[in-house]
């Protein structure tokens, strides 16, 4: 629905109540949906957000529990190679653990299987490494991958005769290590190929590929 100019004061009032939090129930859901469809409504909301955020910024912060970050990373299938912990004790433990177990193992032990994805110029865009014993998948992107701002690249295992299984969103640059779920482990064990598709930001909302598949490459035993 495209708002008419005479509706501006009404939209402004709804935007105010939306940002304040007093617009509730179905009215809130409808207004949020309208925001997604109308840049004008979004603009009104942003104007209120900007003003009221000054008040929010004055509020006393409360430190969240350290374990929460790991849960967020897990939900997003992110695992950083050298996790930084909040508390000093935990930091030490994490550092020791990563040095003893993860760091040398992942850097000196070759992967069990790998897939190399080259871009259209023939240069390596991603290197996908599978460490079976450690249930880890590492994706390295040595150079910046060009992509539309509103899309992500997603990696998929292709078990024969079965639906593709998501292995998470690909990094645009740098290195991303993931702990594999049992479903991902099984799918990778059966797969001889992996694929990359173009998906909405954050990855496919359905669990299946929704955008074009741009690469299908072999997943081979490493050297």
């Amino acid at each position: 629905m495209r708002p008419a100019p005479q509706h501006a004061p009404w939209i402004d009032r709804l935007a105010a109540e939306y940002v304040l939090g007093t617009l509730r129930g179905r009215a809130r859901v409808r207004f949020a949906r309208w925001r997604g469809a109308s840049p004008l409504v979004d603009e009104y909301i942003q104007r209120w957000e900007k003003q009221l955020a000054r008040w929010a910024l004055r509020q006393r912060p409360v430190t969240p529990p350290p374990a929460l970050l790991a849960k967020i990373q897990q939900r997003l299938s992110l695992a950083t190679p050298a996790p930084v912990r909040w508390a000093a004790g935990l930091a030490l433990i994490a550092l020791c653990a990563s040095l003893l177990l993860y760091g040398p193992a992942m850097r000196t032990v070759p992967p069990d299987r790998l897939a190399v994805i080259n871009n259209s110029a023939g240069a390596m865009q991603w290197r996908v490494e599978l460490y079976v014993q450690r249930d880890r998948l590492v994706v390295r992107s040595p150079q910046l991958a060009a992509k539309p701002a509103d899309r992500d690249y997603e990696l998929w295992a292709l078990p024969p005769g079965e639906a593709a299984v998501s292995l998470g969103v690909m990094p645009v640059r740098g290195e991303l290590a993931r702990v594999l779920s049992p479903a991902q482990r099984r799918a990778l064990a059966l797969s001889t190929q992996v694929a990359v598709s173009v998906e909405p930001l954050g990855g496919s909302p359905t669990g299946h590929t929704t955008g074009p598949v741009i690469f299908v490459v072999p997943l081979v035993a490493a050297g």
């Binding site: 940002v19 007093t22 003003q51 929010a56 912060p61 929460l68 701002a149 740098g174 930001l201």
Partner: protein, 183 residues
Amino acid sequence: MDDDAREATAKSLVERCARREPQALEQLYKLVGPLLFGLLTRMLRRRALAEEALQDVFVRIWQRAGQFNAERRAALAGMIGIAPNRAIAQLRHERAAPVLMPELPDSAEDVAAVTADEKTSVPTALLERCLGELPQEAQQCLQFAYINGRSHQEISQLTGNPLGTVKSWIRRALFALRECLES
């Protein structure tokens, strides 16, 4: 770190999240996690609920980082804007299980005490002045709504004022506040 510096840092970290750099999310969590967790704890009054909501907020930030970036949104305001949405959704799910032992103050006196305490923490002269120009009752209603996540109905019960009066105070106070802040 002042608000401008924090905004600049947040913006740069959101840009890096849009490029899918996991370390940027970690840094962003350190920068704004305590602020957002404070807001969510006040709105939801139960730590466990606030923890769940904070996870949702950061998942949403990561998923929408590209959008923030492309639309040149104010990073901090946009992230703060996600918090009430998650809190309200959470409260809707929890309606069947009312809070019997609120972990945070909810009476007008307690909220006023918290406000007084917070007033000294991050002084912002303009905001202080603009809030100070509002009638006391209206300021209290805004506080209940925005900071404590209360509905019109709840504010009416908490302050003992009729629902219509509360709605009207809030509406007038909001526009007066914005006019003052933008003047």
